[in-house]
Symmetry: C2
Subunit: 575 residues, 2 copies
């Protein structure tokens, strides 16, 4: 009731909370104020002296800042369900996130997106989901069901989603692909977020004209500057897999206006990355370490994302805005002491004040439960080609998600092409499980670092079918079978024995466990992986990108090899 708020603002009735004596950065004028802040019914109602309140919070020597707002991330890549993620991010000062649920949209379709939104209610963090704009990423990947313009409109109209998620299909946009333009048209009037790596010049103009108004794929200062100049908001990404912060920081440092058009985002956050670095609080520290002024860094994770997403009810400590307030030792140090969500203390000294109810995940989550038949060792055999044919091999690049296309002589044993540890070649297989066909594609990969056994995963961007890299067919078959049994996850197998496994029952992407247990499981997995002689610390992460048909050069999906640069399939063998 606005009347209750006005009465409290006018001091006719006492407030609920009074933050006394704190140092409050003002993000409109970019200066500090020493001012009391009064809160009623979860809303900031007054700033100044003379307020009475049920609870007084002494803030002398502390800074009070708005709750942090994450402009772009994927919940699924944290391997946590929303409520477990909220339990981790809330004590770090995050109060609002804008997730794009396109991973679960691939594995579970519309119901997956709705599930995420439902699971995100009544938490100390507000989740505003983007409608997944590119499911599937390309027609060479197989999602549970493709999402078309009508689906996008449904998600936006029914309130499941608040904006359009990253429009990755920039070739589709600039080439006027009908379905792609229809999705943008369906999102008219909503914020349309972009994804435009390396897109500049006339292509950038064409892309902007179609609707996207931000980009989180800037990896060069020059390209980011061009996007800013053309009116885009730039999301400076600092995540687990891609880190652009130090490259782009000079843009913000050298021009006071840029912090009003740039935000800092995470994109992909792995549990160990959060545990080590924090979330936007860590990001702020990194921005300041690059020489960005503290208030500019703060604006980039508060008011600027609020403005971009049209959320006039947050992003600043000001009358009428919700009381998402973070107490820091100082903006400069950025250590989160306490966090209030809508005026309720939710975290203190890095811990939640009240635990969040654990997730109740139904077995009926679409896409999980009914599994196709997994391949037997025989199904994974590759007959040697006649004559002296060469074979195409995915060439991994250390610590990178992109690959090279290699042409190598096959290693043949008993009439079959096999993995060859001596030459660094492993076999890779992908089994389609989203639609339950069990279609299996097989290829070879070099430089993965495996000596024996197999590792398999249900995290395989963007369609997230089951993928496996192994040195022998029995280990691979064991790994696939284990994956199917646990409904998705990560598996390490040797021969017919499963050495370690982690369950991701939620869409094959997320655990139901909290971060501590996930980190422990991760340790076990690491030990098992090392037992296989695999020294590649990023093995699972790298495997997750070996099917992604939008990052060059050669990838393997359930439909076979896909050659990104030529935009088409590629055979295993070449004459």
């Amino acid at each position: 009731m606005v009347k209750e708020l006005i009465d409290a603002a006018m001091k006719r009735t006492p407030c609920d909370l009074l933050f006394k004596g704190g140092r409050v950065p003002n993000l409109f004028t970019m200066e500090y104020e020493e001012i009391d802040v009064a809160v009623k019914n979860g809303v900031i109602v007054g700033m100044g002296s003379g307020y009475e309140a049920t609870e007084i919070i002494e803030c002398a020597g502390k800074a009070l800042v708005p709750g942090f707002i994450e402009g772009h991330m994927h919940v699924e890549s944290t391997n946590m369900v929303p409520r477990n993620l909220a339990a981790v991010l809330s004590p770090l000062g995050t109060t609002t996130v804008m997730p794009d649920p396109h991973e679960i949209a691939n594995t579970c379709g519309m119901e997956g997106v709705r599930f995420m939104e439902r699971e995100s209610r009544d938490l100390p963090i507000d989740f505003y989901y983007g409608a997944p704009s590119c499911v599937p990423a390309t027609s060479y990947e197989t999602p549970r069901e493709p999402l078309d313009a009508k689906d996008i409109k449904t998600l936006l109209d029914e309130g499941t989603c608040a904006h359009l998620g990253e429009m990755m299909n920039f070739p589709g946009v600039i080439n006027c692909d009908e379905n792609t333009l229809a999705k943008l048209e369906a999102s008219k009037g909503k914020v349309i977020t972009g994804h435009a790596p390396g897109v500049i010049g006339e292509e950038l103009s064409a892309y902007i004209i179609a609707g996207p108004s931000s980009d989180h794929e800037c990896f060069m200062a020059e390209g980011a500057l061009e996007k800013l100049r053309r009116g885009m908001y730039v999301m400076i990404r600092q995540g687990f897999t891609a880190r652009n912060l130090s490259t782009l920081a000079p843009l913000v440092k050298d021009n006071p206006y840029v912090c009003t058009r740039c935000m800092a985002v995470s994109d992909d956050l792995a549990p160990e990355f959060i545990a080590e670095r924090g979330h936007l609080n860590g990001c702020m520290k990194e921005l300041m370490a690059e020489g960005i002024r503290p208030l500019a860094a703060l604006r980039m994770v508060t008011l600027t994302p609020a403005e971009y997403f049209g959320l006039g009810d947050r992003g600043a400590i000001a009358p009428g805005r919700i009381a998402d307030i973070v107490m820091l030792d100082s903006v400069e140090e950025c250590n989160v002491l306490k966090v209030w969500k809508r005026g309720k203390l939710v975290a203190e000294n890095g811990s939640l004040v009240e635990p969040i109810t654990p997730p109740v995940i139904s077995k009926k989550l679409p896409g999980v439960g009914v599994m196709p038949k997994m391949p037997s060792p025989d199904d994974l055999k590759v007959k040697a080609p006649a004559g002296d044919a060469m074979m195409n091999v995915i060439g991994t690049v250390s610590e990178q998600v992109l690959t090279r296309t290699l042409t190598m002589e096959p290693t043949v044993s008993e009439g079959y092409v096999v993995a060859d540890a001596a030459r660094g070649i492993a076999k890779m297989a992908v089994v389609e499980k989203n639609q339950g066909t069990g279609r299996t594609a097989i290829g070879f990969i070099k430089g993965f670092g495996l000596v024996k056994g197999a590792i398999a995963s249900s995290v395989a961007h963007d369609a997230h079918n089951f993928s496996c890299v192994g040195m022998d067919d029995v280990s691979m078959s064991t790994a696939f079978a284990a994956l199917a049994k646990i409904g998705g996850g990560l598996v390490v197998a040797l021969g017919d024995e499963v050495l370690a496994e982690v369950e991701y029952p939620v869409g094959g992407l997320m655990s139901v466990r909290p971060i501590d247990e996930i980190l422990k499981e991760s340790e076990k997995l690491k030990a098992a992986r090392e037992e296989l002689g695999c020294t590649n610390g990023s093995a699972f992460m790298q495997l997750a990108f070996m099917s992604l048909s939008v990052i060059p050069e050669l990838k393997l999906t359930d439909q076979g090899y896909f050659d990104i640069l030529n935009g088409g399939p590629k055979p295993l063998f070449v004459k």
Copy 2:
């Protein structure tokens, strides 16, 4: 069709226009670019080299800036109908205005507002009307019909209005007046513009909580800074009747961020003021003369108002935005050379390229046509009070719209209280015509500068009933009768002769004539006024505010004297 725009952006098809070699201020990064600008179908589609176009515009040595956006004004106070006003403002570089039609809403109700919107279509300026939030201004004024929350919602829903017009009733807001809060509630999700003179501290917080997010009534730097800090946009007003620019300019000059939260607006523009000073082009010159950096001044009349009103399609020269482009000699000099609206050249060297079709104003405009019976000289007589009663007199303040309350001895002649030139006292009368009752209130006014005869006007804020100041009852009766005959306007009368008159047939507020004729009529009126010995150059302007029941101290409406400070009626005579 977005496809046509994308094809032009990608250079697959030629553009319509190419602006070559201009200096283009970039308002996102606040720097200049030397860059070509390509336009297709009225939209900016490309920036850079290599574009082909049907028409090349050489811009070497010139600056190209976005069309100017007026954040707050009243069309009615220019005495021109929208299309005649557009003819004047378009050559000055204005391409978008946000008028609040509350004057015509008072005299003609909902139909008046709809009339304004209809009359504003297909012009070289886009008009986005605010729904009038305060009709009547107070219950002591008599409009055609009061506008309630339902009416506001109707105007917004049907698209007649785009935002809520200035919420002047701040006492109603902070005191939780039900109808006032209902109007704000009805505007939820739309921009709510404010009007909060001198409102600070807890009252400001309460006001902001209720919805208003901007203010154009800042007259002190300190108050404006407080509003900025609390998250409001500040509209720096520089109009005919109120000028705050030099007082507020230091705020913008001393802090680079403030130009992103401040705009420059006009509020009231008189024809002679436009003729002399220009519009936002003149405003920019004045901002720069105060030491504000040219690009900051430019942002205040382009990108900042566009951002505030959520118009992502304009406010900058950038791909995807409409081609509202102004060619200046330079931003520093700010002389408007040419103006394009949606890619069409509409003005050049101060003149329209094609004349705008003259207005066709129906006689059926509501509120105009059926007039009550006007008072006879006898009706205007004031019987002298018994005994030695004193009388309340409106005390004018030179060049101001506020007044003082004077208590004076009445001048009595033949049993009636009369005007007295020797003592500087004139009679004032207001006749209710909006509802056609003809109710007449009479008072006295000091310092108006009239020696003989009478002047009458149908411009009398905010209700705009007929008002007249005169030295004898016959002149006053003549003036009222003339006013009724012409359906509203301005009249100068002496005895039974009309010395000069100007017709405002449109709601009693606007002429159907173009600015040149209005200025000529204004000269005739001036000559007639001087014939009456009236040296007060602001006589008609001052008269227009003598009924306004929201500016202190004493005013006369059709309901009688109204004492603003005490918020109630006041008798003519005091014991």
